[in-house]
Symmetry: C5
Subunit: 250 residues, 5 copies
Amino acid sequence: MDFATIIGFVFGLVLMFGAILMGGQLGMFVDIPSILIVFGGTIASLFIRHRMSEVFGAFSILMKAFFVKSHDIHKIIKQIVEMSQIARKDGILALEKVKSDDEFLQKAINHCVDGADPAFLEKILAKELSCQKDRHRNGVGIFEGIAEAAPAFGLLGTLIGLAQMLGHMEDPSAIGPGLATALVSTFYGILIANLVAIPVSYKLVAYSEEEQMVRQVIIDGMISIQKGVNPRMLMQSLIAVLPPTARKID
Amino acid sequence: MDFATIIGFVFGLVLMFGAILMGGQLGMFVDIPSILIVFGGTIASLFIRHRMSEVFGAFSILMKAFFVKSHDIHKIIKQIVEMSQIARKDGILALEKVKSDDEFLQKAINHCVDGADPAFLEKILAKELSCQKDRHRNGVGIFEGIAEAAPAFGLLGTLIGLAQMLGHMEDPSAIGPGLATALVSTFYGILIANLVAIPVSYKLVAYSEEEQMVRQVIIDGMISIQKGVNPRMLMQSLIAVLPPTARKID
Amino acid sequence: MDFATIIGFVFGLVLMFGAILMGGQLGMFVDIPSILIVFGGTIASLFIRHRMSEVFGAFSILMKAFFVKSHDIHKIIKQIVEMSQIARKDGILALEKVKSDDEFLQKAINHCVDGADPAFLEKILAKELSCQKDRHRNGVGIFEGIAEAAPAFGLLGTLIGLAQMLGHMEDPSAIGPGLATALVSTFYGILIANLVAIPVSYKLVAYSEEEQMVRQVIIDGMISIQKGVNPRMLMQSLIAVLPPTARKID
Amino acid sequence: MDFATIIGFVFGLVLMFGAILMGGQLGMFVDIPSILIVFGGTIASLFIRHRMSEVFGAFSILMKAFFVKSHDIHKIIKQIVEMSQIARKDGILALEKVKSDDEFLQKAINHCVDGADPAFLEKILAKELSCQKDRHRNGVGIFEGIAEAAPAFGLLGTLIGLAQMLGHMEDPSAIGPGLATALVSTFYGILIANLVAIPVSYKLVAYSEEEQMVRQVIIDGMISIQKGVNPRMLMQSLIAVLPPTARKID
Amino acid sequence: MDFATIIGFVFGLVLMFGAILMGGQLGMFVDIPSILIVFGGTIASLFIRHRMSEVFGAFSILMKAFFVKSHDIHKIIKQIVEMSQIARKDGILALEKVKSDDEFLQKAINHCVDGADPAFLEKILAKELSCQKDRHRNGVGIFEGIAEAAPAFGLLGTLIGLAQMLGHMEDPSAIGPGLATALVSTFYGILIANLVAIPVSYKLVAYSEEEQMVRQVIIDGMISIQKGVNPRMLMQSLIAVLPPTARKID
């Protein structure tokens, strides 16, 4: 669970409501045609831009930014080093009994036990990693699409509102409220982009990079085990990816 | 057939018409000089920017975003694995009888049967793939050109309208409608870019990447067949490009 | 001769004049100070940005977008395959009698006949290709510079006009025409960028890429000839760069 | 201590206050709702965009731009050359007695003395360098996030202010002050981005690149020592990274 | 001396003054608070963004765009080819007597005479070239910083001016001049960016690329001399970097 995302989201909404209520009523910022244009237009453009399965998957990807399960890299490094000791003592096949919570590490162990040679192991795990990276990039792409489309449809809503207001300007006193309503679309578009879509896309990228880093450690570790690298040197080599202050593996 | 593109397009247009009709008549948003400037100017700039054959091919490329035929990668992987079994039993030449719906796979089979060695096969298929990628990029480039040109010509239309309105401002009451008309060009430009050109260019890129991924699988598979890779390992290696939940090849 | 560029340019100008004349007189869009600021300022910034020889060469580069001589790649591939047959029958030196219209192919033939080994041939031709690419990039850079500078100087012209108009606003009725005149600079800047500079820079890039593709075919072909590659396989390898529908070499 | 950062910051603030006081009172530029929206909204988006630990670490990263400890590359090169003389005379193990202030150099010495071979040494130090680079990039990313978010929330604040002012425009004389207040948010957003976030992110990148350059020198030097490179040639090779005028190593 | 830069600069300033004087007095465009905000703010942000030595070095870098000494590549190629003839006849050590005006060529000759082997020579010269490239990039970075900061501080100045004018709008007739003054900051910012900072940064990049090209020719040439490449082939290989019309080396 990512409390930072939740705090940011709640804090951001409270601030916006607070700032609006400090200067007037909330009702002025609720406008049905603006909602239709900005939310509907953004969703319509997402359907054209992405595949249907990706658009329907966007919500579950968004949830990842709130409820992601972080990887315990210390535990994974510790397990790999232990496996390297087992493999040096009893041979690669002795890893058959090792079980890991990490799906990718378990798969790598299975390949080793199945007798994959280091070159094949590296090729297949690297391919899996790079294809996962592409899939993550597609998921992030939806939020980048929202970040690009929402302000544009916000501007379209404001242009429609402006043109309609200016089109029948018999009563000059109606200009103010008309203009206010027209600006609400732009407000929606910029708020969606900057409080939701842009920051969520960065958080997703960060999680994807963390997962790739962990998986790269697993690939390096398993190949070193197959090559029979000394456990102490393996440990030194794996912890080099950690920040200096976090290198204690108990 | 890509229903997502169709849904997005229809939904987007309905929304725009709906939002316009909720606040006034449609007539206000139909302005012949604006249409000339935005649509005509965008097309004119496309002729300068691209080759004539590419501009005339743009419509058929647009249709791809609606009616693309998706690749059945499971079927292709299955066929490659079956071919690897045939080749191991009866030799490469026995692949002569294999027929594939996939044009690229059929071409790769033909090269194998013709006796191309793995290095030549990889070189020629990789070159074809990279040249196809360049051609796809050119096709996408037209929609990126529209996305760039349409808002610019929309702004030009608004500037022309503004200057003409401001030029003879004898009657202050005419300012409103004149300004409304001037804004319609910008509306057109931003709508074309954000509801059509930008999302279509992303969809085309996604289809191009999918096709390249499938073709890369074919290249890897055929070269492995020539090298006599074990069918079980070939299968494992090819399905690594699929998401973990879609790795069942019946 | 590139009819698309000519059509786009003529069509774009006709549209702009048409749209202006439909709503007023042309005279309103001719303003000497605006012309000085936008055209003069853009040219001044080009002199700072580029070398003098490049600025003076910009016009002849612009002409390339109108009157380029396209490469006949089918003819070049045919000639390379014929040369490979001659070289296999009578040796590399027999190519001495072959003459080509293509300057780069002729140079490659000369190097071969002079006894260059494949490594030296590849190195010298690749270096020439990459240096030509850099020179083309510099040429395109001038139009990218215009595309960047023209709207900026258009905005500067509008700011000058606005400040002057607002500075002595004794007569409110003069605001309209003053504002109209101020907007003309921005109109010039955006028109130059979007109807000329941006599309021309893309067309020049496309021609440069086409030329590089043809030259890469020549490099690959000549090196294969030196290595004594089978003419049928050479043909297959060279036509892989063409789209599938254009692979008939008579 | 980086006096340039301090001077820039103080000078920038003095200028802004000065320019404001020259034309009015400061009070006009202090507006609580604007502060809430711009500062609060930017912080909220940072929480969504980054991990909590990164957001709370932002202040200590900011301090780096003020109080960074510069690396003395001359001293490090001198020490490496001295070590190469020791290693040639008495063997690698004689480096055990060498102590360095530089943490990374000390770690490299320890690895050497521990008997790491050149390939392992290079791999582990290069991995550490590239992971440090990624961590620095994340730190810079926070300031890039502020640079992107602050102007956007500034615009949102202005839109809210404008809509509220236009919504009840009974008294035309209130338009001016209302508009002035609305503009203050945009002022905050652009000031934060351009006086703090953007320049700080560049300064941090420059320090990160300097540190990486120093560490690359250490890696090259220690590997050369292990390979027994001649001290005079090692010196020549290491000082090649310095500008020609700063190559005196006393 | 780069006459193009001087012409562009003088021509640009004359144009701006001319356009301003055609429509009013110059005095309207001189505003002390605007100068403080735009020039001062840009300089303040430069101090935060760069190191102090780089900021103080910016003026001497700017002078390079005016008074650069161009490299005579024909002379350098000729000298390298002559040296290759000397080296083939009398050995590498005979180059000791060769003197070159070009600092980098002289250094390469010294290394050769000192007995550096080709691999060491290439490594050390390539490292020097790449570090020089980084230093040039830092120098260009200052002008890119000005190009980014000046318009932003221009906008800040305009926002301050607008807010102050709108804050006490007792006299409607003062709106015009107040607005005019506010716009002057934006005018400064855009003028500095587009007439100075952006074009100068491109010119500096072009000079840096030219210098790197010349130095790459020197590296290739000296290594070929060490390897004993035939002078005629060396000549052919070196002139391949020149445009076809400039390949006459007398």
